[in-house]
Amino acid sequence: MTASGFQQQLSQDVIQQAKTGNMLALEKIYLTYADTSYNLAFRISGNQTLAQDIVQEAFIKVFTKVNNFNCDGSFAGWIRRIVVNETINRVKSESLLRLDSDSEVVEFQSSHLFGTDWLDACSDLEFLLKELSITSRAILILHEVEGYTHKEIASFYGKSVSFSKTTLSRAYSSLMKIILE
């Protein structure tokens, strides 16, 4: 099975070439990760034009900072982090995001969210996601789809781990409510 999205890895040769500013290498990076970066930015922002803009800015950052990539971790993971940071920052600056302060976050101890298979009642999950608040949708995507830990998500937002955990529970709660109403 062919790797897709951020699972795709480029050769060290391409990365080294990119570090020297080789345009062909930069193009290869862009063509490999542009779609998946857009997909991530779009899933979080819910806005096509904004997501396109985010991808452009993220790649400019990738090209500018590629020299700082120290080859310790995954190159795709490094790009993905830049895209996530760019998305969160842009969404914040576009005033689309309301960040709840930790004191506002109500601790959740529910045990009713997954008792029934309520997703069966939903025919269009994509549409449903758009109904969520941007914060809820972002954390749902980052944790459940992209696999970031609550600690990593908290650092993206400059918030506590409990903020991430509670917002995730809230996202599921909102999804369920929207479907069942």
């Binding site: 862009y30 452009q56 790649f59 298979d117 789809v145 599921y172």
Partner: protein, 193 residues
């Protein structure tokens, strides 16, 4: 006692064991797994209008502007803002040799100095305008290429100790090119020099 939703969302070893023993929590865990699978299987959205050439132009433009921060060794620094200053310096170096040609040469030399100042102001306006207008990036690189060619000719004249007349023509050409460029831009106001 059943697991709460947060425990279910982040299972540790104890909770895994609980799930294996508790029918109710097992069912809830399966529902959650199904939700997660659906989320992961959302169709991939492809970037509409994926255009490498445009991104390349934007990157080159910004990189180009950032060049002066990287030091003078890069050849790209010269055409951006350094040309007039550098040329002025060269002119000062060559001034004694130009002077020996007499008062006509001296007068041309003064004209060149005035033209360099004019070029500096026009170039500043052009740089300001281009950085304010995202849409001008592609066209911006064209004007920079043209300016770069003239700059190279100016350098060449200096290096071969060419005549003031040649320099005068080149600086004039440079000035006119920027004036023309600025006059074509909507909402641009060329400052009278």
């Amino acid at each position: 006692m059943h697991l709460n939703d947060e425990q279910l969302l982040e299972l540790d070893d104890d909770n895994e064991y609980h799930i294996s023993q508790c029918e109710e929590c097992n069912k809830r865990a399966k529902n959650l797994a199904k939700l997660r699978k659906e989320l992961k299987n959302l169709p991939l959205k492809s970037l509409p209008d994926k255009n490498w050439q445009t991104l390349k132009q934007i990157y080159s433009t910004r990189n180009y502007k950032a060049e002066p921060m990287r030091g003078i060794s890069s050849g790209k620094l010269w055409p951006v803002i350094g040309v007039s200053i550098a040329a002025s310096a060269l002119l000062m170096i060559f001034t004694p040799s130009i002077d020996i040609f007499g008062s006509k040469a001296l007068s041309q030399n003064q004209q060149i100095v005035a033209l360099i100042e004019k070029n500096n102001l026009l170039q500043q306006q052009l740089v300001d305008f281009m950085s304010a207008q995202d849409k001008e990036k592609i066209h911006g690189s064209l004007i920079r290429s043209q300016l770069s060619l003239i700059d190279q000719s100016i350098q060449h004249v200096h290096l071969k100790e060419g005549s003031s007349n040649e320099l005068l023509q080149l600086w004039n050409q440079r000035c006119e090119l920027m004036k023309e460029e600025l006059s074509q831009q909507p909402n641009s106001h060329i400052i009278r020099i």
